[in-house]
């Protein structure tokens, strides 16, 4: 699948090789290929359209460099535009003094609970003392799951009887207990919900209002297709997200959701999940992601071939 796209791009861009000048006409075919590549990578339709338009304008406006052939130059521009679009502050802000409260949110099954454990592990190794709060009272055995994960990390987990409590109360009590116990970072694991579920979105807002987390992270499955924009927008409107964590990137998904989510919310991607184990959390690298979305592990090698 990847070969096909790479080949298509190479062919399209080779078509105007040696013409010495980038014009709208000779860039059109190549840009069609770029658009298809983006759509097949699940970049949202509107985002792909805008992107192609922007790159086209930029390429035509650009002076043809002596040192590069026009096809090389365009691949470079496409790649760089992707990187620029996904760039941002990829660091997680943790207060130096006092306690930092992080709230996780996202659709059902996106990887919130697992990522809570991964973050806790990472923070712990960084000398912080993390504290987990089990605020998913909905999914069967969600509390149990976080308890097991907390055990694995060696990190306390606050929970209440789901029959006698509600998520807002659990979060408030959890943060209180975390403070009392001297923790420095609290991570709230919330239940999965759909962006169109008003009741559950309001519940998240109540937690947001009552607990005032310092950071709100949206956990997004990297295999998400066109719907990524809808859910990211809904969560961002309800909560003003501070960051995105892209999960399940260990598979063969091209991960266009990364571009879509960033494009519609402006919220930077902080980390990527690359496995089920708790040590499988990595920094986000826009350049690697760009190559992946284009279906070219190494964009430079394409430039060489072209």
């Amino acid at each position: 699948m990847f070969e096909g796209i790479t080949e298509g791009l190479t062919n399209a861009f080779s078509a105007f090789r040696g013409s010495g000048k980038i014009t709208e006409a000779n860039i059109r075919d190549g840009m069609k290929q770029v658009r298809t590549a983006l759509l097949e990578a699940d970049v949202a339709f509107d985002v792909a359209q805008d992107f192609v338009k922007q790159v086209t304008e930029q390429a035509i406006g650009a002076e043809v460099l002596k040192s590069l052939r026009p096809d090389q130059q365009i691949v470079g521009i496409v790649n760089q535009c992707l990187i620029d679009l996904m760039a941002g502050d990829h660091q997680l802000a943790i207060k130096r003094d006092g306690i930092t409260v992080i709230m996780m949110c996202g659709l059902q099954g996106s990887g919130k609970t697992t990522t809570c454990g991964k973050l806790a592990k990472m923070l712990k190794e960084d000398g912080k003392s993390p504290f987990l709060v089990a605020a998913d009272l909905q999914r069967p055995a969600a509390i149990e799951q976080l308890k097991v994960i907390g055990d694995q990390v060696g990190c306390p987990v606050y929970h209440e009887d789901p029959a006698k409590s509600d998520p807002v109360q659990v979060c408030r009590n959890g943060v209180k207990q975390a403070k009392a116990s001297g923790a420095t970072v609290v991570i709230l694991d919330t239940a999965g919900r759909l962006g169109i579920d008003d009741e559950l979105m309001k519940e998240l807002q109540r937690i947001d209002n009552r607990v005032a987390p310092d950071t709100c992270l949206f956990v997004c499955d990297a295999m998400t297709g066109q719907d990524a924009v809808n859910s990211a927008r809904a969560f961002n409107e309800a909560l003003e997200l501070d960051g995105v964590i892209l999960t399940k990137l260990d598979g063969d998904t091209r991960g266009g959701a990364a571009l879509s989510v960033k494009a519609v919310t402006g919220v930077p991607i902080k980390y990527v999940g690359v496995g089920e184990q708790l040590d499988r959390l990595e920094q986000f690298h826009p350049d690697r992601m760009a190559g992946r979305i284009l279906g070219m592990g190494d964009v430079l090698s394409l430039v060489e071939k072209a």
């Binding site: 699948m1 759509l39 339709f45 069967p140 055995a141 169109i196 998400t224 809808n230 063969d252």
Partner: protein, 313 residues
Amino acid sequence: MGLFDRLKAGLKKTKDILRTDLRDLFKAGAILDDDVLEEFEGRLIRTDMGVAASDRIVTKLREDHGGRTVDVDAVWDTVRGELRELLKGDGSTNWDLENPLSPLAKADSGPTVILVAGVNGVGKTTSIAKISNLLQKNGNKVVLAAGDTFRAAAVEQLTMWSERLGCDIVRKDSGADPASVAYEGATKAVELNADYLIVDTAGRLQTQKNLMDELDKIRRVLQKVIPEAPHESLLVLDATTGQNGLSQAKSFSAAVECTGLVLAKLDGTARGGVTVAIRQEMGIPVKYIGVGEGIDDLEIFDPDGFVDALFSN
């Protein structure tokens, strides 16, 4: 609410997007030009059906109606016809809306074994609970096998569902061999004279070869007890999944010969269009759709209903 209405309600978002927008797009009397077609292509791609399937529909539209004044009904017929064809495939699956169990295979004698697999977090365990509920409601005795011994508290999760359902469950400790759980599940199902055994499996990405081999092993071990097992290998797909769904269908089919899809989480804004591409490329039909987190939130999938829900008023 009848099944059809519930299906439509579950797909309301899909319907809204495609119907209202498209009605605006294909204005009667206007010329069906490339701009309109490109706009339409966008609507199709937004369903996640992919570039190839969208192209096919757009090409057909261009051939049949391009450059002419729009006859809304004729355009609709073409779109609907193409989509139905894409979805129906060879027509080998029997759809009977009155009988929600109609898409499921049934063993000639002894327990029918349903193996449920899919990538992480798609909704396997929840779908198993829903299918069990459906089976029990129709007078069947169900045994569950907690074959996800890997993910934290996965066994507990399925156990909680079994308690709510009041059905038997075979489980082992976390970390146990999933194949041995499946084996014991099959033995138990035979011993209890159950009608169905449903085997849960851990979520796995299709690129993890050792874990895909493990699925195959589960299948082989089941066959030691029940030679025709599994009678049904369901792949659960998350409706929000994009083009990776195709890769999932290919790899899981290679491992366990998928007989059907369960399209979970169709109650959101996602449209699950990748199933069109899967149907087109691989012929695997969608059998059920998940429209919520509750035990009753499962509907039989009906291709005609799906297309009508997309395009009817």
